[in-house]
Symmetry: C2
Subunit: 196 residues, 2 copies
DNA sequence: TGAAAAAATGAAACTAGTTTAAGAAATGAT
DNA sequence: ATCATTTCTTAAACTAGTTTCATTTTTTCA
């Protein structure tokens, strides 16, 4: 709105795909947001803490993971450009999370703090629709993930995933991909050795 | 609204937990709904067909499942009282589904057809909020399910599930529980034999 | 630039869960 | 009541993926 380089542009563009906001509504919205650079390996959330905000990723990559009973990192979610990421269980209940959210690379985020989200939605009700549609998309993706995990063997998941997202598969360390795909790094090495 | 036994009461009660509707809004809403009795084993959706509606379950139980590459039924979701169920991927895109939705028992549903959902939301914008909150709950549950599946062994999943939902575990055939929990009925029998 | 840390590979022993196949028990329709 | 279908169990052989541990390669950063 003012000349400050529009640090929220990526989010405003994303919202415009779903709802049309008046300039005045955009102004209100921006007054509720804040922008943050998150250096690689920084944690936005750790177990025992309450998830403080819903994070919109302008650029970079975050991961959501927890430690399993067998003490392994289990990645449940990667957050990329134009996705919101949070532990919605903790965010909604304001109870302590079991999860980590960590930057995989240097990442730019726009945050909407839990404490003000309801106030924002009361002031700009059109955003109810926007967030409904965002959640619809997220829920659908989550269902697809459950299907993916149950439908294919580890080897097939790896092959299909790298075929579908070749650039992303390069972007994260292999052990993170293995975790996300639901097997060990050793098994991934085995698969790759077999392919050559 | 009129004296017709309030077939939509369960849904109206559910909505009232999240938003307050005026009598006039309730009237509009009800004009968009329809009620249906679904006999056990009836399919509401089959592969190749487009998911026609979002279904609210007043009573009974539905299951959402697909056939895996190894030709097994894989249940991804059970729908119980006061949950909405649909293949949101197909519902949103109006493209053919890969899924079945089938009644596990005689079930009463209230349906909101895909073709009129947008019109309803335009006329009763408060429902944007209601459906946002419903999706938030569904998405959170879906994330918990992914965590559950990745965190525990098959045996632990069975033990924890039956401890948490003893009545539900009785309500569905064991082979459905096995599928939902991500293993074979034979393995489930093995677990039970071990417990005795 | 070089030392330390992080990430990836390899191989052998192992195990959680599958597969196949057959029979037993329960449920449902007539 | 009875036959047919659906659901559940048992057992043995098998396999996809894990575990453990050692080695190599790559990245980080002072």
């Amino acid at each position: 709105m003012n000349g400050s380089l529009m640090i929220y542009q990526s989010l405003l563009d994303h919202i415009r795909r779903y709802v049309d906001l008046e300039p005045s509504e955009i102004e209100v919205l921006c007054s509720f947001l804040s922008h943050r650079h998150v250096a690689k390996k920084t944690f936005l959330l750790e177990p025992g803490k309450v998830c403080a905000a819903n994070y919109f990723i302008s650029s970079g990559c975050l991961r959501l993971f927890f430690i399993t009973t067998s003490e392994q990192e289990q990645i449940t979610h990667f957050g990329l450009e134009n996705w919101w990421i949070a532990d919605y269980g903790s965010l909604t209940s304001q109870r302590p999370s079991q999860y980590y959210i960590q930057a995989v690379e240097d990442t730019e985020i726009i945050e909407l703090k839990a404490s003000v989200q309801d106030e924002l939605l009361a002031k700009v009700p059109k955003l109810e629709r926007y967030f409904r549609l965002v959640l619809l998309r997220a829920y659908t993706a989550s269902q697809r993930r459950i299907e993916f995990m149950n439908n294919l063997s580890g080897e097939d998941r790896y092959n299909q995933f790298t075929a579908m997202f070749p650039d992303f598969a390069q972007r994260v360390p292999l052990y993170m991909l293995a975790s996300y795909l639901g097997f060990t790094p050793q098994f991934l090495s085995k698969i790759r050795a077999k392919r050559n």
